[in-house]
């Protein structure tokens, strides 16, 4: 399989639509994502949009959801589900300005249920937006130069970038490229402006989607930039990951990693999480060309028959890493250089204040599960609004759903510190290391995929695990724990040292053995169990770890050495 001609083309974009999955026809016939969205928005009989339009709106970062807590109650009331929409902002690298923050705060209070959610891909989600409010929200975002393009859908998702506040100069260089990559790989359809801003359709001046064509990508495509030694973005979970290579603070280029992806389906062994393979190095000047080459291979060869098998990771495992690499190089017109050495030490965040190499100050706040909301004990949303009003630097959302108040002049620090204290946001180290390294997806009640609680449950479960840690003297030991309400992996649970994925209300799969800095998948230890079984298993393994760990040995590594789970060397063996 070394040339294009010999590879199997029976499931890709070369086939007529009739031979492909129904979503391909939907995209092709949608007139570049317009569909009947305009009509659906006008339909006053329902708070939902037509089913096809709901799919198309994902390309505009909008998810139709409903309040699942009251779904059955409303069914009995002869009312349709309480539909609303989630809008996910496009925010490359998680960087936003205070004025953007203030606008998001305003929109959240007016249309988004008075809450904001920071996500594992470094952006904001506004939930609870009703259909009639979508346009005001989109236009409000436009006012501060934000949009929601491609935050979902079969296209490039939000581009991630390590937040590392210490390396100020290198971050600035890589972040600029991450932003450029996001703009570069974005869909071009005029549908967004027409539908959400009410602009007139302009006569086509050349193809509307020069790169994507009318069927876009086979599935989502995730790009991220890591700046060692931090692997906060979990670069191996990206379809296309770039690992920055620098020389004395000056960016040189990137190691290229392809084929990461965490989504899987329970009881479907052909689906599995997969970590990306590093295939070589490119200079920074070749970055956009590399993105085009890699994405176009997936665009042209990805499986468009079965969406559960359409991610780039399956294309790679089906065609072979060598073949895919060769095809990328053929399209690039040059061979990748050998990968440069690099070292990751963690995928977590360091909380609290740090001073960057340029003397600017940064403060990382722990935001449990990324949820920004006022509560009676902690007026977090008000506090962050007050900070945004005073702050002259930027904010950065971390891939761990935390928040950095970034880029302060040292003389401005006391004022921000006072605001943090006033709003109860200054407790950086008062939580266990486990809690600081915990992450949960949104799940119930809004996510349509969730089978079990996640964000609303993990804090309580962590409290119970903290009691075990305390008993075993492990309170200050950083251990990653991640929970999702379904197997799709939004909180990247399969690369946590303790992973939990929802199976049913109160029931989870328990995974152990993930790499502390995201270098290794974990493996299922218990299937479909409740809290008592989870706590019992963790009590045993953590106790064992506390007694017999080697110096510096991580819990994930220990779980494999002690034989609790086998090491997963490649994603396709995850289910073995």
């Amino acid at each position: 399989m070394s040339t294009t001609d010999q590879t199997d083309r029976s499931r890709d974009v070369s086939q007529p639509l009739d031979n492909l999955g129904p979503d391909e026809t939907l995209k092709a016939k949608s007139d570049y994502l317009r569909g009947t969205i305009e009509h659906s928005l006008l339909d006053e009989i329902t708070a939902a949009v037509a089913g096809d339009d709901a799919k198309l709106m994902k390309f505009f970062g909008l998810y139709q959801q409903d309040d699942r807590d009251i779904r059955d109650e409303r069914r009995r009331q002869k009312l349709e589900p309480a539909f609303s929409f989630m809008a996910r902002v496009r925010l490359p690298g998680g960087v936003c300005s205070p004025s953007q923050w203030l606008k998001l705060d305003e929109l959240a209070r007016a249309h988004g249920g008075e809450t904001l959610r920071l996500t594992t891909r470094q952006t904001f989600q506004l939930h609870h937006i009703i259909k009639q409010d979508l346009r005001p929200v989109m236009r409000g975002l436009r006012d501060v130069l934000l949009d929601t393009k491609a935050a979902c859908g079969d296209d490039t998702r939000g581009v991630m970038c390590t937040v590392n506040p210490n390396l100020s100069s290198l971050h600035a260089q890589v972040y600029a490229l991450a932003k450029q990559a996001s703009d570069h790989a974005l869909h071009r359809t005029g549908a967004y402006r027409e539908i959400w801003y009410g602009e007139q359709r302009e006569p086509a001046d050349g193809p509307e989607e020069p790169f994507y064509g009318r069927t876009y990508m086979p599935r989502k495509f995730k790009i991220g930039f890591a700046i060692p030694p931090s692997n906060d973005i979990d670069v191996y979970s990206q379809d296309l990951g770039f690992i920055a290579v620098a020389d004395g603070g000056a960016l040189k280029g990137f190691n290229v990693a392809i084929g990461g992806g965490l989504g899987r389906t329970d009881q479907a062994p052909k689906t599995y999480p997969r970590l990306a393979d590093v295939i070589g190095y490119v200079d920074a000047e070749s970055l956009m060309a590399t993105i085009d080459a890699v994405m176009s291979v997936q665009r042209d060869y990805g499986d468009r028959v079965d969406r559960a098998h359409a991610r780039f990771k399956y294309t790679i495992d089906d065609k072979g890493l060598e073949w895919v690499t060769a095809e990328i190089e053929r399209r690039l017109g040059f061979a990748l250089a050998p990968a440069r050495p690099y070292t990751f030490t963690s995928n977590g965040d360091a909380l609290g204040w740090v001073t960057g190499e340029d003397g600017r100050e940064h403060c990382t706040l722990f935001i449990q599960n990324g949820r920004i909301v006022n509560t009676s004990e902690r007026p977090m949303m008000d506090g962050l609004r007050a900070i945004a009003e005073a702050h002259e630097g930027t904010f950065r959302i971390t891939p761990n759903q935390n928040l950095i108040i970034s880029d302060l002049a040292p003389e401005d620090r006391p004022a921000i510190e006072a605001l943090l204290k006033d709003h109860g946001l200054d407790e950086f180290e008062s939580r266990s290391a486990l809690r600081r390294n915990s992450m949960a997806c949104v799940a119930l009640p809004t996510c349509g995929l969730a089978m079990a609680e996640s964000e609303r449950y993990l804090p309580d479960l962590v409290t119970k695990i903290e009691a075990l840690l305390d008993a075993h003297g492990l309170t200050e030991e950083p251990i990653t724990i991640r929970m999702t309400g379904c197997p799709n992996g939004c909180a990247r649970p399969y690369i946590a040292e303790i992973g939990l994925t929802g199976r049913a209300p109160g029931k989870y799969n328990l995974y152990l053995g993930g790499g502390f800095h995201g270098q290794r998948l974990n493996k299922m230890y218990l299937e479909n169990v409740g809290e008592s079984a989870i706590l019992e298993a963790l009590d045993t393994t953590l106790g064992h770890y506390a007694r017999e760990r080697r110096p510096g040995e991580r819990f994930g590594d220990f779980a494999i050495r002690a034989g609790y789970v086998a090491e997963v060397e490649e994603g396709r063996f995850f289910n073995d």
Partner: protein
């Protein structure tokens, strides 16, 4: 008629089966011929034949009563105007009482009566309810406009009597009857007996009036002793016997509660319930558009509070309408104990001698009285103006009987056999910091768990029945006013009716108050409902109501009317019905190229043709 029902004991079931079997196979011409043939036979059998039929379709055909002999025989017209069916019922009884005396009587609904025939009418007996605050029932508006207008003829030939029905919780509670009574006198007609004004417990007063009217009508020239004709009737054994349905207002059926859910979602400013009741084994049937009477009981907590205020034990014996009972039972199930009537105010002012109450009795205090009664229920009066040591009988003498409440039925027997569904808005409010509920809505909301039973009866409402299968329907409803349209759509779906239908529905908030939302969505999807337009007043600025939606689609609304659509309006009488009417007039004027008078004539013609029907409350 959409369906044929056994008309009652006037003929046997076997006969009815033969008749109904025959009628379904007849052509129109054949039916006409046979009706003439049967009439001829009847004429031969008893020579004096009844002139003028009973206009009330749902009452069993009555056996023709012979008219009194002699040239002086007069024809009595019993004219009623009804919102709830009470007037209709009384009119039927009155006509029967007249016929029992050998007087020829016909019954007419004011909605369909041609007022110009008044000048040829001899004896007119009017029974009318009052609607809202002193208005005639909606269906009688045309009649009132004619009678009170300049075109009304002098009526020196006319003898008349008026029975006015009302609800004394309203300030002008019998005004419609009073207006007719005074106007007829102005036009030169002779009053047979004085007008009687009845409160909601009208039974005794109405019976007294009927008796008085019957006496006055009796031909004074008639020979003493039983009139031969009447005797003949009795001898023939064909005197019609009242045909009570198995269950009725006086003997309600205990309907099991099948379901009772709150339709309004979380966060609603209202509580509207869907109540499903079983009519199984009751023999009760109804048509879409009919109402269900609910014989509610008072809130036990209110009964206890009242007993407490009175300082009387619940087992104190009392006598109500010659029936011995206890005070507790009477307050719980027999007497109205929430809102106080002006009569109770009089009564209580007399008992307590309270100056503040007595000051309100002066005729010029009517506004203050109304305001006071809005702020003071029976409980509040008894609490603020105590009457220590009051006698229980004396207390209850000021109260009026607890009246059943009527709800439009929200289901069709074709879709839900043996069931009647109600859409009930629970009335809740606080008065003097004490939470209160509506009598029936509170009863249905709080004291009817599943498996409980609710005493009910069917209240016919022909005026609001569903039009023919092919007739386009324009259905306008706000809030619980949507209930009969659910019945209409269920019926049309079950019948496979092909007529178009268009619903305008209004409420406060889309998310919580879109009553029966998923059902309308399904009806639209399946084409049973052709169009649906919504107005949620509190979602939009400025507030949007059904009449605004009508105006927005005025061109189409007018086209539907021109296509023969039947227009239904159901819901709030105080504002919605009038606002909708104004919108319709504007639409007709604009799209029909008419001035306001022309538009009013157009709508009046629709009403006459029974294509503009109201069920408002």
């Amino acid at each position: 008629m959409a369906t044929m029902e056994h008309p009652g004991s006037i003929i046997t079931t076997d006969q009815w089966e033969m008749v109904s079997g025959l009628t379904t196979s007849l052509t129109h011409d054949q039916a006409l011929w046979i009706s003439g043939y049967l009439a001829g036979l009847s004429h031969q059998a008893r020579s004096p034949v009844l002139a003028g039929g009973d206009a009330v379709a749902s009452t069993p055909p009555t056996a023709p009563a012979p008219a009194p002999a002699g040239p002086t025989a007069r024809v009595v017209t019993v004219l009623f105007a009804s919102e709830t069916g009470n007037s209709r019922e009384l009119a039927t009884s009155l006509a029967q009482a007249a016929r029992d005396q050998g007087i020829e009587a016909k019954v007419a609904d004011m909605a369909e009566y041609r007022p110009r025939t008044l000048k040829d009418t001899q004896d007119l007996l009017v029974i009318t309810s009052t609607h809202g605050d002193g208005d005639p029932p909606q269906t009688a508006m045309d009649f009132f406009e004619f009678l009170e207008g300049r075109k009304a003829p002098k009526l020196p030939q006319l003898r008349y009597a008026v029975l006015a029905l009302g609800d004394s919780t309203y300030e002008h509670y019998c005004a419609a009857g009073r207006r007719i009574d005074e106007r007829l006198a102005e036009l030169g007609a002779q009053r047979l007996v004085d007008r009687v004004e009845c409160d909601v417990d009208y039974d005794d007063d109405a019976a007294g009036w009927i008796e008085a009217v019957s006496r006055a009508l009796a031909p004074s020239a008639a020979p003493p002793g039983p009139a031969p004709a009447a005797a003949g009737t009795a001898a023939a054994g064909t005197a019609p016997v009242a045909v009570p349905a198995a269950f009725d207002k006086r003997r309600p059926f205990a309907a099991a509660v099948l379901d009772n859910v709150v339709l309004t979602g979380r966060g609603s400013t209202k509580e509207t319930r869907h109540v499903e009741l079983s009519l199984e084994d009751s023999g009760l049937t109804y048509q879409p558009g009919d109402a269900l009477g609910v014989v509610a009981r008072n809130d036990p907590a209110l009964v206890d509070a009242l007993l407490d205020q009175l300082g009387l034990p619940g087992d104190t014996p009392v006598t109500i309408k010659q029936q011995d009972t206890t005070l507790g039972d009477a307050l719980a199930g027999t007497l109205e104990i929430t809102a106080a009537t002006p009569r109770f105010l009089d009564h209580w002012a007399e008992i307590t001698g309270a100056a503040e109450l007595q000051a309100l009795l002066a005729p010029e205090q009517s506004k203050a009285r109304t305001a006071f009664l809005q702020r003071h229920h029976v409980l509040d009066l008894v609490g603020r103006f105590p009457a220590p040591g009051i006698d229980a009988d004396r207390f209850v003498a000021g109260l009026r009987p607890l009246q059943p409440r009527l709800y439009s039925i929200a289901s069709s027997l074709a879709a839900a056999p043996d069931e009647a569904h109600l859409t009930v808005s629970t009335v809740r409010y606080a008065l003097h910091d004490v939470p209160r509920t509506g009598v029936a809505s509170g009863y249905l909301a709080e004291r009817t768990e599943t498996d409980a039973t609710v005493p009910v009866y069917i209240q016919r409402n022909e005026h609001f029945h569903l039009a023919d299968d092919d007739t386009p329907l324009l259905m306008i409803g706000a809030g619980t006013g949507v209930a009969p349209y659910r019945a209409f759509m269920q019926e049309r779906e079950a019948r496979g009716a092909t007529g178009r239908s268009w619903l305008f529905f209004g409420e406060r908030n889309f998310r919580s108050d879109f009553l029966y939302q998923v059902e309308w969505q399904a009806l639209l999807k399946h084409g049973v409902l052709s169009r649906l337009d919504l107005a949620f007043s509190r979602d939009a600025t400025p507030k949007t109501y059904v009449q605004d939606r009508l105006r927005r689609h005025g061109r189409d609304v007018y086209a539907w009317l021109e296509d023969g659509a039947c227009l239904y309006v159901c819901g709030d009488a105080a504002h919605m019905a009038g606002d909708v009417h104004d919108a319709l007039a504007d639409i007709v004027a604009e799209h029909g190229g008419l001035d306001r008078d022309g538009a009013d004539d157009y709508l009046a013609a629709l009403k006459r043709d029974r294509r503009y029907r109201l069920d408002v409350y």
